[in-house]
């Protein structure tokens, strides 16, 4: 029931994720932040097994930091995406991580980019991506209304429309969503869309 989706706009990339932490029928909390800030200009929205998600995303984040200290230069989004895919692929035939990731990043040379990374180490560079049951609705909504080079406001409006669809059509819809954005000024939290206070 975890919904993560993202899209690329003009000079920025957006990642939206639900914020519910669920265990079978119990909702532990409705303000769990599933979009990790990988470094100053990268966002990683992750969905899947909670333990694997935390383990894998933190592991990637520390390795990205280490690369930066060793080489005095940050990894590009493409390099980070390929590193993640490589780690998932190596673990796949032994002890797979059950994590799906939407990686959004901004590079000075290449601009904003979005990567879809599956738990079985599929890697695609895309303009819009979505995971989970919510993807049936958000992907359809984005297919209908997305166009290249959207402004931030247009993209936020589209994200809200997707959230509305998820809320109204998914049987056990998540309560709250968080929207994070990355552009030339860095990765940061944009806003929340709440139906319940936690």
């Amino acid at each position: 029931m975890e919904c993560v989706f993202g899209m690329v706009g003009k000079g920025f990339a957006l990642v939206v994720a639900d914020t519910s932490a669920v265990n079978s029928i119990l909702v532990h909390k409705s303000n769990e932040d599933k979009i990790m800030v990988l470094d100053s200009h990268k966002l990683m929205g992750a969905s899947g097994e909670a333990g694997d998600r935390a383990q894998f995303t933190e592991y990637v984040q520390k390795n990205v930091s280490l690369y930066q200290f060793r080489n005095n230069i940050p990894l590009t989004t493409k390099a980070a995406a390929n590193f993640m895919r490589g780690e998932l692929a190596t673990a796949l035939r032994k002890n797979p991580y059950m994590v799906n990731i939407v990686l959004a990043g901004y590079d000075k040379e290449t601009g904003p980019s979005l990567y879809f990374i599956d738990y079985i180490a599929t890697l695609h560079k895309v303009d819009k991506a979505a995971f989970g049951y919510g993807s049936y609705f958000s992907l359809a909504m984005m297919d209908r209304h997305y166009h290249p080079d959207m402004t931030v406001d247009e993209a936020i409006k589209l994200a809200e429309q997707c959230i509305e669809e998820i809320r109204s059509r998914l049987v056990v819809a998540p309560q709250n969503f968080v929207i994070k954005i990355v552009d030339k000024d860095g990765a940061r939290e944009h806003s929340w869309r709440r139906t319940t206070k936690d």
Partner: protein, 299 residues
């Protein structure tokens, strides 16, 4: 472990050795009066065994008067390395390192002597720079590993203890030599915000300092610091560090590399900035000299 594989040099081989052998060559301590010792990889006749058996041990063995000569030689290597100084202020810590300006074609940006281990920790060293690379790499990994396992950044004391522990390990292992460098580690405690300066040396000891120097002419720098140290902050700390360095280094921005660690992070000073501060220091010195001469003249 790095072992040199080579054919024994012709002239130095002991006459009892077989004509050609692949051997591992290591330096031996002077007290046993031998330039090289050979450890053979292939099977040898028994008579070689008994003569050489007592050398098949850790390289760092005690001498009869209780010294670890390899460690002391490593300290010699440090004494030949370039000068490095660290001064702790109330709100910052300043690291300064001597830069050799003789190389004209070298791209100086690729030779950074003051490196950051984490966002809040920096390191400067004196001695074998290649050894430094290895230590710095391990320290950087440890900083991230600590963050991963306990979700908290390292304290300066922790990472110093780690580096010192690593240096000590190499004084007590077989087949390796000690790291030939002393490090100056600075940083702010991530929880209390207190600045610290630590020093490690090849033996693996470490301690905290208010100000310290290592490398070439470190004794004169330390004497200067002992005479002139006082609690400072901000620009005053930078000036004190540069003044200490100028005692032993040719003056000029291109001969010194200076970095300041504040709560916000590490800032490497530009050559222009260093030149400006050096000029200030020279002006102050000149003024002090003039003030000293003036009353003598009047009397």
């Amino acid at each position: 472990m790095l072992l040199n594989f080579c054919l024994a040099p012709e002239g130095r081989r002991s006459p009892s050795l077989p004509p050609k052998c692949h051997c591992v060559v290591k330096a031996e301590d002077q007290s046993s009066n031998q330039k090289f010792k050979f450890i053979y990889k292939t099977l040898k006749p028994h008579r070689f065994r008994s003569a050489m058996a007592r050398y098949d041990r850790a390289i760092t063995v005690f001498s009869p008067d209780g010294h670890l000569f390899q460690v002391e030689y490593a300290l010699e290597a440090v004494r030949k390395g370039n000068a490095a100084v660290g001064v702790r202020g109330a709100d910052n810590i300043v690291l300064g390192v001597e830069k050799k300006s003789t190389v004209k074609l070298q791209d100086s940006r690729s030779v950074r002597k003051i490196v950051s281990l984490d966002d809040h920790i920096a390191l400067a060293c004196a001695g074998l720079k290649a050894d430094a690379r290895v230590l710095i790499n391990r320290a950087r990994i440890e900083c991230q590993s600590h963050r991963l396992t306990v979700e908290d950044p390292v304290t300066v004391e922790y990472i110093t203890r780690y580096i010192a522990g690593l240096q000590q390990k190499y004084t007590q292992s077989g087949g390796v030599r000690p790291f030939g460098l002393s490090t100056l580690i600075v940083g702010f405690d991530p929880y209390t915000g207190v600045p610290s300066l630590y020093q490690t040396d090849p033996s693996g000891t470490f301690s905290a300092w208010k100000a310290n120097a290592t490398g070439r002419n470190s004794n004169s720098m330390r004497e200067f610091l002992e005479k002139n140290y006082k609690e400072t902050s901000g620009q005053e700390t930078i000036k004190l560090a540069i003044r200490a360095l100028l005692e032993v280094v040719e003056s000029g921005g291109k001969n010194i590399e200076v970095a300041v660690m504040t709560k916000e992070g590490l800032k490497q000073l530009e050559e222009g900035e260093i030149d400006a501060i050096v000029a200030e220091i020279e002006a102050e010195k000149a003024a002090a000299e003039a003030a000293k001469k003036a009353p003598v003249k009047q009397s």
